[in-house]
Amino acid sequence: MTSSRIANVGLVDHSRVVKFSFDGRTYKGFEGDTLASALLANDQMLMGRSFKYHRPRGPVTAGPSEPNALVTIGKDARTEPNTRATVAELYSGLVARSQNAWPSLNFDIGSINGALSPMLGAGFYYKTFMWPAAFWEKVYEPVIRRAAGLGKAVMEADPDRYEKSWAHCDLLVVGSGPAGLMAALTAGRAGLRVILAEQDFRLGGSLLSETAMIGGVSAPDFAAATIAELADMPNVTIMPRTTVFGWYDDMVFGAVEKVQKHLAVPSADKPVERLWRIAAGRAILASGAEERPLVFGGNDRPGIMTADATRTYLNRYGVATGRKVAVFTNGGSGYRTAADLSARGVNIAAIIDSRAASADFAPYGVRVIRSGSIVDTKGGKRLSGIMTNRFGYDEMIDCDALAMSGGWSPIVHLMCQRGARPVWSDEAQAFLVPDVGPLFAAAGSAAGHATVSECLRDGAVKAHAAVEAVGRLVGHVNTPEVEGEYDPSFAPLWYVPGARSKAFVDFQNDVHVDDLALATREGFGHVEHAKRYTTSGMATDQGKLGNVNAVALLAGMRGVSPAEVGTTTYRPFYTPVSFGALAGTARAEQSRPIRTSPLHGWAKKNGATFLESGLWYRSAYFVQGEEKTWRESVDREVLNVRQNAGLCDVSTLGKIEIFGRDAAEFLNRVYSNAFLKLPVGKARYGLMLREDGIVFDDGTTSRLSENHYVLTTTTAYAAEVMAHLEFASQTFWPDLDVCFVSTSDQWAQMSLAGPKSRAILQKLVEDDLSDASFPFLAAREVQLKGGLIARLFRISFSGELAYELAVPAGYGEAVADAIMEAGRGEGICAYGVEALDVLRIEKGHVTHSELDGRTTADDVGLSKMMSKNKPDFIGKRLSTRYGLTAADRLQMVGLKPVELDKPLKAGAALLREGVEPSMTAGQGFVSSACFSPHVGQWIGLAMLKSGRERIGEKILVWDAVRSSEFLAEVCAPVFVDPENLNLHV
């Protein structure tokens, strides 16, 4: 055993054993452990293999910036790859597996990549695999993908629930270390609504591993007391296990809360993760600072970690990372860790201090090598020794762990996500937070402070400013005294010269110093270029640990200051966020709002097959008896409507009530045809244009009383038309007295069509429906038998005698049932949108298949809808310009294949007979097509160049997608009742 648990030390509960497994072996940890601390307590230092070279790796941190200890946690569908063992909360039954190693972590064939590493330098993809091009997809990429990479995603659907939620506060505090706690306390006592978010499952941040005394009590006790006080405040919300990953415009922060990720079997009543959008008045970044690794030869062996991590494992988890630990430092941090280790009885092999002199005290009897360096290390799956060098003299020192400290980098990411760049400070030898305005401030070590007392004070000061800004009185908050602080100063040491093996900068991406040197030599020294060229700071790591070292090294190689090199761009997310959390409840059926028609139930019990149409589910066709194909059902429905009657759900049409003295004038301006003289009690078909002269939408508008109209839109454009009318009213003609409201949801609307529709409807309607008293285009309220008031419109899309009946939605199903019952003797059937489409194609009525955003009214044969007399309407002016009136525009025509059995399909191209098929020879296209049971063959509507002049011409229908080619005859776009005799019966 070399790393081990120390009895009764730390904040883990030594009385509560937690069993878990790693790579199939069962281990024991304690409640309060992370997976990493528990593995270390079991002397399992090796936790992963590196990305490119498959080098054995152990944890280098004890927190979220961990680049090495990435494991796969969970089983079956709950498998989650690339989880950082250093933040994974241990739970009973946790199953973890190592990644990127085959056949096993201990013996990994891929590590041969390490031996080949001279060939695998920076940019090797670009150079090695240039030629032959065909090899990239077939050979190189598959091989590289297998050899390099992280964990594998599972293919099963995630069984767990996810949610999103909003939160609002006056002050968001990110991080619960000394600065965060004091900030929350100060603002909380002043009565602000405070959210304190902490990514860890335990609040306290660095206080949890701090040995200094605060206000006479231990740092963890001070943290616990402060948290207890905050927890009692109704205005303070504490959010553990919550990572604030992004800062967005207007002080909105994104955070992900791991609600149940620490449970083997999550409760189905709660989400496993919750995505928070936090709208904050102000925010304080108290995210702390990251200790930097030192860049020396062989610095990646398992057992080498930061001094801070070593101390955290020791003080918080009661785990000694080795039996004989060496320390390599450029400042006081190394000494602090050495003191803590020594106090817990761990042997210190030596302290190697890069500085010639310092005021730091080494523990009694510990050898300090000043002006020392490490040039190489040895050991396989764990460190076994370090080669030190002092003034050119080597010395091998045995040790089984190394704590390194290369100075500190404030964790500035969140503040730099909206464009501001961190600012290099020569004094701090670090990038500090930029000034991003008064609403978002950094506090504590995130703001460059180093000691506990400074951090406590700074947290209070920054919160004080936030409290004053919102006009509250600041309560009395004492900053407690701190005893036993260390000297945090350090001397810069970006690269330890004389490395005899690879000195890694970015552990996760296996980027070492030579890679950066190569990038610089080859002209990729710009920080953004170097990142892409070497992959330094890519992937899940995003440079959290190695970026500052990389920047400083590039600066050294280019002979400039790190300020000049700058950093790469910081973007959300700070740590990876699962797709599940981002999707929230928007999965499968709930992935978007679904709209249900009031006649859905009626359609369902009549055997409807539904199709999605925008957010709606509409009844497509109704299968009856032995019908095997949808065509059989649709043909029957179409014929029945033309022979008897059919009932169709048209509730999805948009319905807009329009009121006002100027409603007629307003309609006259938004429609291209005239509306001023529409009589009360009448409906009129209307065409709306866009301002560019192209058709926008069509529908009928009925005048219910002098100043009250109801306008209908197509299903697809209901929302757009409403917005269009509102825009025209509010911005073009605010002086017109008109107002609108959508009543689309108030009414169940059904179309009863067919020669027997009047007879059927009359059985239910009190009012006289004879042609004389309720003629074509009549539109008014009627009373149903039983007293219900309905709206009845005599309009037809099918070309048959037809009515649209609107009743309050809640009665829709009952009324539809009654119509079906009343029509049984007349042979009524239910028909769906497929039959409706056939009926309208047979009649040559347009839909958005023809009104496709390119057609004018004239193109579809509706030039009579273009008023010549109105002074203005939307689209009028540009509808007459040259391009829209050219004689060779595509015009709507009908099509009938010459051979009766040829199926016409929408989208097929039209060509002159005899030409070689090609898109350049195109004369137009089929816009709508169907089998017409009335005509007895496939028919279509088509847009054809100068089409109206070409009636009778044989034209080639070329469908390259479905590989068909046949002749069709161009005809007038109406296949049934061209004189409209059926409408006026």
């Binding site: 909003w166 989400p271 928007a586 059985k763 009654a818």
Partner: protein, 182 residues
């Protein structure tokens, strides 16, 4: 032939079989409220708002400076229409079947609704008696605070099933029950 048409609530199918006794957190679907859209013509906004505040047996929900939803649990639609018809500069349309009214109440109601709306529902920001149009479960609706721990939601009928399902999921964590009520 006289036909007594049965009125059907769109959430009927979703309700059957659910627990009858409400928990502390509960979603009530109001079966037959009377609802109107009220529109003030330009220039009449203030006088219409004032007149609406005087109409008996209705509560007024804000939509825009010239647009309201009126809700009544105890008046006939005809009686309300008659009152509205007498207000100069006001047009109206019945929406009793076009809008679905749901009330969410209980100690965790704000936590439940925080999953559904982006608006801050702290009493300092959204006081009792306030109402506003807003996105509720990704659907344009109207939310009102009718008590310390009670909110009412209006959503268009066709979306009500979707919103109900989302609310039910949001309330699961807090054992929210649901049922029809008056």
């Amino acid at each position: 032939m006289s036909i007594p048409f049965t009125h059907r609530h769109i959430l009927e199918d979703r309700m059957s079989g659910y627990e009858p006794s409400p928990n502390a957190n509960h979603l009530t679907v109001l079966r037959r409220p009377v609802i109107f859209s009220a529109l003030a013509h330009a220039g009449h906004e203030a006088s219409v708002a004032e007149a609406l505040s005087l109409v008996e047996n209705i509560v007024v929900r804000s939509v825009s400076p010239s647009d309201w939803l009126l809700v009544s649990q105890n008046a006939e639609a005809g009686a309300i229409a008659a009152s509205l018809g007498a207000v100069p500069g006001l047009s109206f349309a019945e929406q009793s079947d076009g809008q679905v009214l749901m009330a969410v109440s209980g100690p965790d109601v704000r936590k439940i609704l925080a999953k559904c709306v982006a608006v801050d529902l702290h009493a300092d920001a959204f006081a009792e008696g306030e109402s506003a149009p807003m996105m509720i479960c990704r659907v344009a609706g109207n939310l009102a605070r009718t008590g310390t721990d009670t909110f009412e939601i209006l959503v268009p009928r066709s979306y009500a099933g979707y919103v109900f399902d989302e609310l039910r999921e949001a309330g699961r964590e807090y054992a929210m029950t649901r049922g029809f009520g008056e």
